[in-house]
């Protein structure tokens, strides 16, 4: 639990009826999940820096078209921070490259910055960002209830915990904000001084927030039991969305992209050698398997998102 939950209360966003404004989330969960999995798989296996940059562009484009790019900023921050760290660190420990840009001695270390090391570091950072954003896209494309639905086939309890967390976290955040506002209104200084002083001032409020959370947890548990949870073998509601052409396009695109990627991987269409000299990054862009992958990833997503908007 963080004191960030004790920021001033804000009105809950009110987008009535636009809950699933992301068109991907309105599609069959299995189709959306397969599609996003294919995007994540591509981000994981592709190594060529230009191809990685294109994939990153696709993921960012999908998030933007879903209207969730801003909501994904926390993911972007984490990915960029880690990626930047790797990009900076890698050139100092990787000596495989031949094109030396800069060399120096630091105590017992000999540091050699090479073009190859620099490009490898930047590519790794971009790959990490693409993978992290692909998982952000997973959260956009599949609402927690749908994730629960998919997970239920394997572990209902885990899915339920996920769903409850998604349901109660905003409530907890709102509770924290209200508690902090109430204390400010009775003269408690929560916003003055250093960051540490502010955190110290807010610490006693976490107890109240914890108490509230426990009370809520007990209430939810009572409500669940009253609604038959634990009464025996559950059924699962399956047919709430009929399969449509867009679902088939997503699922088909996912399968096609996966096959093309695997084939491309075996035929060296998405691989890349950084050391000792950089391969030509543009050479693979016209490889048919890569082109098939691109079309299979871009076309269904664009189709669903554009149709969803209109």
């Amino acid at each position: 639990m963080s004191t960030a939950a004790l920021a001033p209360a804000r009105r809950r966003s009110r987008a009535r009826g636009t809950a699933t404004s992301c068109a991907l989330a309105r599609r069959q969960p299995a189709a959306s999940a397969a599609y996003v999995a294919a995007v994540a798989f591509a981000a994981l296996v592709v190594v060529n820096p230009v191809q990685v940059a294109i994939l990153l562009g696709i993921v960012v484009g999908l998030l933007a078209a879903s209207g969730r790019l801003r909501a994904s900023l926390p993911y972007v921050r984490v990915a960029l921070a880690v990626g930047l760290f790797l990009a900076i660190l890698n050139p100092f420990f990787s000596r495989g490259g031949l094109d030396v840009i800069w060399q120096t001695d630091l105590w017992i270390f000999e540091i050699t910055l090479t073009l190859q090391g620099l490009v490898y570091g930047i590519t790794t950072a971009l790959r990490l960002t693409a993978v992290v954003l692909a998982f952000a896209l997973f959260n956009v494309a599949l609402e927690p209830d749908d994730q629960l639905g998919l997970l239920s086939r394997f572990s209902f309890r885990s899915g339920l915990v996920l769903s409850l967390a998604a349901r109660l976290l905003p409530v907890l955040s709102s509770d924290g904000a209200h508690i902090a506002d109430a204390q400010r209104a009775r003269g408690m200084e929560l916003d003055r001084g250093t960051r540490r002083a502010r955190a110290t001032a807010r610490l006693p409020l976490l107890g109240a927030l914890l108490t509230r959370s426990l009370e809520r947890a007990v209430d939810v548990a009572a409500a669940m039991e009253a609604r038959g949870y634990g009464s025996g073998r559950r059924s699962q509601w399956l047919h709430r969305r009929p399969w449509r052409a867009a679902d088939a396009a997503l699922a088909g695109g996912a399968v096609l992209a996966a096959v093309a990627l695997l084939t491309g991987l075996l035929r060296g269409a998405v691989g890349y050698d950084f050391y000792p000299l950089l391969d030509d990054p543009w050479a693979q862009l016209t490889d048919p398997w890569w082109l098939v992958t691109l079309v299979a990833l871009v076309a269904p997503g664009a189709l669903v998102l554009v149709r969803g908007r209109t």
Binding site: S13, R14, I179, D181, R186, G207, R227, R240
Partner: protein, 558 residues
């Protein structure tokens, strides 16, 4: 007729509680009954409902004596989830009873738990959505719904399981009047269309007494009255008049004048429509306005807003151009529909929120130049949930914390503490943990914690939510005392009857600004919705009359 549920000598005590929450309760619930369960906070209403679905004793533990049977199932052996197919319970707090994140999945959750087949779930979810007018929200995340919509979803989720017995535990206590009315209409339709057996615990008797076929009144864990609505009204007219709807109180006053016996037939009206019919019958005696008490003129300005724009986005403010003055000696009711910006506006009075444009001046100082803590000495704000205020272990420590925050010391600090304790009757609670108190007591303690520094402006946001009529009356008297002492009190409320009884001025927000601002008898007179039962009954004959205390019965014509 076969009983759907039965209590036989049930006495129940919660773990670590000193007194039983239910005392020797014996009653029979028959099919198609609509039972209104009344009683003050802590009288045992919720416990009685929870005993009907087995949460008492299985979930809560404690000591249970006697027997509750539902459809022949003994709740001592049948667990709540075993009874879920027969008994549906809608809880008070809409936030704490939902599990999933979207509306249709939430409705399906209970059905999935009961093992209903997928095609049947599709049909039942659809029917529940349609019956409560929620189809347009089927994909909406619960986090984006209003309290009223959430509570309707909770009701939909319960009725989808088609229980034999539907229990509603103060389902409107967290809702504004419009949402409450919608929910109660849905309940009424359900009762009329399906013949469902319903037990409804409620405080707002004027909204539901006419829906009931039977009334149970609880006090201290025991069922004190078990009667038809008319019998109950007759009983309440004699000893608990605050439990009656305002129009019934008006006619009960007349019965008093006539020694009851000569009244039309001794009946009391439950609705404005009933009352209008009865007025036609008792033509010889008509209500007339009592001599009004002289109003005290308001004093100095405490707070002034200047062309204030409030909201969360500069381009789309919730309210724009709000200019108003609050003066000492005024008790102002701030009304308006949900989302009109009432709570947002008052959070600008002590600087909790910053204006998009314009300024707020508190005792002449720009609130923007003060910290919230500095503004707290001049403006106390009691938010909607009293629990937000409790961070210490005793009531005394809560009061002391505020006085310490506000830097009061020595004799003045002791004096202020003693004064608020006396004003809010907290002497007997000082060493109690505020979280262990009843709802009404918690509100009093939170009010003490917010307002113990004797600020000239006290703002209360929805203080009467979930409050029983007795507590409401006490709160009104306390606020009127503060105003008489020269403070200014502003109450954000949806409770028209409460506003009419205690406010001298009413502000109505809507359409991005102030819709009405004036004396209560002018603003509340003739409104379609923001009006009292008595006003709706008598507005043509006695314009400006808001509640029965302004009326006396006499032989002269209207």
């Amino acid at each position: 007729m076969t009983a759907i549920a039965q209590f036989e000598g049930v006495t129940y005590t919660y773990p670590e509680a000193v007194r039983p929450a239910l005392r020797d309760v014996t009653l029979t619930i028959r099919p198609a009954e609509v039972i209104l369960l009344l009683g003050g906070s802590g009288s045992g209403k919720s416990t009685l409902l929870r005993a009907l679905n087995g949460l008492v004793p299985h979930f809560h533990g404690g000591t249970f004596a006697g027997r509750v049977t539902v459809d022949e199932f003994d709740t001592r052996t049948a667990r709540p989830h075993d009874l879920a197919r027969r008994v549906g319970l809608v809880f008070q707090d809409p936030e704490s009873q939902s599990v999933m994140t979207t509306v249709e999945r939430e409705i399906a959750f209970g059905l999935e738990n009961l093992g209903v087949a997928s095609p049947a779930i599709t049909r039942l979810v659809e029917e529940a959505l349609i019956s409560l007018g929620l189809s347009h929200l089927r994909h909406a995340p619960l986090a984006e719904l209003s309290g009223g919509e959430l509570q309707k979803v909770a009701l939909a989720a319960v009725i989808a399981t088609q229980p034999h017995l539907l229990l509603l535990d103060e389902p409107t206590s967290q809702l504004d009047p419009v949402s409450s009315e919608e929910l109660l209409s849905a309940i009424r339709r359900l009762s009329e269309d399906t013949g469902a057996t319903i037990v409804l615990a409620e405080h707002r008797v004027e909204r539901c007494l006419h829906l009931a076929t039977r009334v149970l009144y609880m006090e201290d864990g025991a069922v004190l009255v078990d009667a038809t609505p008319q019998e109950f009204a007759g009983w309440a007219a004699g000893s608990r008049r605050e439990l009656l709807p305002p129009v019934a109180r008006l006619f009960a006053r007349r019965l008093n004048g006539q020694a009851a016996a000569s009244a039309a037939d001794g009946r009391l009206p439950m609705t404005v429509k009933d009352a209008r019919h009865m007025l036609d019958v008792v033509e010889t005696e008509m209500p007339r306005r009592r001599k009004a008490e002289a109003q005290v003129a308001p004093g100095d300005v405490v707070l002034r807003t200047e062309k204030l724009a409030v909201g969360y986005e500069r381009d789309t403010p919730l309210l724009e151009g709000v200019s108003l003055e609050l003066r000492r000696g005024e008790l102002v009711a701030l009304m308006g529909e949900n989302g009109a910006g009432k709570s947002t506006l008052v959070k600008h009075f002590n600087g909790l929120l910053k204006p998009l444009r314009g300024a707020v001046r508190l005792l002449g100082r720009d609130v923007g130049t003060l910290s919230v803590a500095e503004a707290a000495r001049s403006c106390a704000l009691l938010g909607q949930n009293p629990n937000d205020y409790f961070v210490r272990d005793t009531v005394a420590a809560e009061i002391d914390l505020t006085l310490e925050n506000l830097k009061f010391e020595g004799a003045l600090r002791d004096e202020l503490a003693a004064r608020i304790i006396a004003e809010l009757d907290l002497a007997g609670l000082l060493q109690r943990d505020p979280r262990d108190l009843s709802g009404g007591e918690r509100t009093r303690v939170a009010l003490a914690a917010a307002a113990c520094g004797d600020p000239p402006l006290v703002v209360l946001d929805e203080p009467t939510r979930g409050m029983d009529p007795t507590r409401k009356g006490e709160l009104a008297r306390t606020l009127q005392c503060w105003v008489a002492d020269g403070r200014c009190v502003l109450v954000v409320t949806h409770d028209v009857e409460f506003a009419a009884r205690c406010a001298s001025r009413v502000l109505v927000l809507g359409d991005g600004g102030i819709l009405a601002d004036g004396p209560a008898d002018e603003v509340l007179n003739g409104s379609l919705f923001f009006s009292t039962q008595v006003n709706r009954l008598l507005r043509h004959a006695l314009p400006g009359v808001l509640h029965e205390d302004e009326i006396e019965w006499g032989s002269s014509a209207l």
